[in-house]
Symmetry: C2
Subunit: 209 residues, 2 copies
């Protein structure tokens, strides 16, 4: 939505002098209140301004594209996560690689006897192990995995955008979505760069409210 010059001027006045009444704005512009009414309505509806009875108009501090980004900043992990694929900490690296191909995922989560997350295996971890000299069927995954507390995780109520930032910052492909239990963190989901990419596509297709 593009603002016209008068609306930009109003925005500037409210920014500097707000809270300010509609009459006071009209006075400064040498216009009647009636003339200004549609402009004030547009600015209020679009979220640039807010109005309180007996106080006047004030600036919300939001620019046009900030209002767009607000939408992105509300999307939760919950609605976009995938099913996690887990392996027990005692399985061999070879079996883990097979699981990765069978399940067609890029990241496996490693759990203990209580289904509590103890580590993470990426394709990179498995590739590194596979070019080593060891016999892949005899090394357990807990030797090569990234282990707690060095695993980055998230909760289902977390914001997608915070997960996206973590994926970039830590240079990883996926995070486990966890739930706190008595024994530790149980894995309940998986969120990957693919999920993030799907969020962008959904936004572009106007599928996210």
């Amino acid at each position: 939505m593009e603002l016209n010059k008068r609306q930009e001027t109003i925005l500037q006045i409210v920014k500097e002098q707000g809270p300010i009444t509609g009459e006071a704005i009209a006075d400064q512009l040498n216009l009647t209140r009636a003339t200004l009414r549609p402009d004030l309505a547009i600015l209020t509806m679009a979220g640039y301004l807010d109005a309180r009875p007996r106080v006047g108009y004030f600036y919300t501090g939001k620019t046009g594209s900030q209002l767009l980004s607000d939408k992105i900043n509300k999307i939760q992990v919950n609605d976009h996560q995938s099913i996690p694929v887990v392996v027990h900490e005692s399985v061999s690296v070879y079996d883990a690689i097979c699981t990765m191909f069978l399940e067609d995922v890029g990241t496996l989560f490693v759990v203990d006897n209580f289904s509590i997350i103890v580590g993470v295996l990426s394709r990179k971890d498995l590739l590194r192990a596979s070019i080593g000299k060891q016999e892949l069927t005899s090394i357990p995954v807990n030797i090569i995995m990234t282990r707690m507390p060095n695993v980055t995780y998230c909760f289902k109520e977390d914001l997608i955008i915070d997960v996206a930032k973590k994926l970039i910052e830590k240079q990883i492909d996926a995070l486990p979505v966890v739930k706190q239990t008595d024994k530790g963190y149980e894995v309940v989901g998986r969120i990957t760069k693919t999920n993030i990419t799907k969020v962008l596509v959904a936004l572009a297709l106007d599928e996210i409210i």
Copy 2:
């Protein structure tokens, strides 16, 4: 931006009967044109409606969030691509894996003597090869790579959103950005799910105009 009930009704009328004049809309709602003026101004400014002199108002076909998604649908590959990492088609799988670790990328592009793309190597391709029985130092990458014309690619003028759709649809992590030459496609860039994730973060931080 949220519409009020009267604005929703106007939108509905224009959708069904447009192009329609302001008077005709006012008649149907038993209101004066003056009363409707701010609403029509808001709907027009926000991009829901468009108006032409002597024709009337018509519906642009855009919903509120479609207008938001317009912004995403303008972002080009050009502004968000990374530097490509290439290997010659004659190098061994072992050397390709080493390059992947050294350059810290998830996808390598394979080129011929003329720097023309002939294939792509993903971590998955290399992991599959590495658990095979062959000697990795003696197999050239062109045996295991995904080869042209089965490689999905894009151009720098393409839209990020189309790349995102391709990455999801083909279940791949990266696309080469190519340039047409006499001999074939030269690799000029790389676009990954990480780049797409960064686009979402930039949108959320309001860094993309």
